[in-house]
Symmetry: C2
Subunit: 140 residues, 2 copies
DNA sequence: GATGGGGCTTCCAGTTACTGGAATGTCAAG
DNA sequence: CTTGACATTCCAGTAACTGGAAGCCCCATC
């Protein structure tokens, strides 16, 4: 099958498939006489594997590692789990960072009256003028 | 003050300050006879403004908009709020995406025994072999 | 006066994971 | 025979920096 078919079966755009190949993430596939890449269903399995792994946020380096483990029939599941745990920790870090941003931002938005007046706690906070509400001393 | 001092007072590295200037986010500052950038405390205010805005995840384009609003004394707070709401929505989108990844990943990790055996639900899921537990039919 | 260690300048390149576009070649249908 | 959809390669751009090289500038010390 051609790259277009492999693309629609794997969910990866043709450009991305070529890109992964160029990066060495995938072996170069066989070519037809006209120079077109020819993909087997085993190739499509690899592509889908990558598509799912990337969908879970694994970096391309992680994907490389996971593909190597996938191909290694004598792998230990502990090695796979380690890669996944690393990724989980990374996701947790990002979620925590975003939640912290969200907390501050939501507070500022709530305190902004959002009308035609120029007076604005969002700008004030960014300018370092006012402290956010939850950083102020509680009343009594 | 020189760029190093402005950097430590604003929390932005010198490289980043020059980068922002090159992008047009900041006006080029005055220069001393030796060619060094000279920053005023007003300049440092701008830098800190940027540092905080970037810390809340605003893009550089958003920062530009916010700086413009900051400088516009006749702005309406509604305009500022609109930028912030956009950013909040973006953050929520990212959090949702990460949480979905986290959900799947945590489930896979939990189901992987993580020992020396090659058998691994993480690999199986990526390869499209097994369905995750929460996608399976509940028992009875 | 030479030297050494910062800090400052510029510019170029690399990062991540693609994506868009140009120029060109191939194939099947009408 | 032409049109349109596919395929190929290569170059460039994205976001927001960051690292490094090559070269001034300034101050202190020997």
């Amino acid at each position: 099958m051609n790259i277009g078919e492999a693309a629609s079966q794997s969910g990866l755009p043709p450009k991305t498939i070529r890109y992964y190949e160029g990066c060495g993430l995938l072996d170069a596939p066989a070519r037809d006489e006209n120079g077109y890449r020819r993909y087997s269903s085993a190739d499509v399995h690899m592509l889908r594997f990558l598509q799912r792994a990337r969908g879970l946020g694994f970096t391309m380096a992680d994907c490389q590692e996971l593909l190597d483990l996938y191909r290694d029939k004598r792998r230990s599941s502990a090695d796979v789990q380690a890669v996944a745990r690393r990724q989980l920790a990374e996701i947790d870090r990002k979620i925590a960072e975003l939640r912290s941003m969200r907390h501050t931002l939501a507070d500022l938005i709530e305190r902004c009256h959002g009308d035609e007046r120029p007076d604005c706690p969002i700008i004030d906070d960014l300018a370092g003028i006012a402290a956010p509400a939850d950083a102020m001393e509680p009343r009594r």
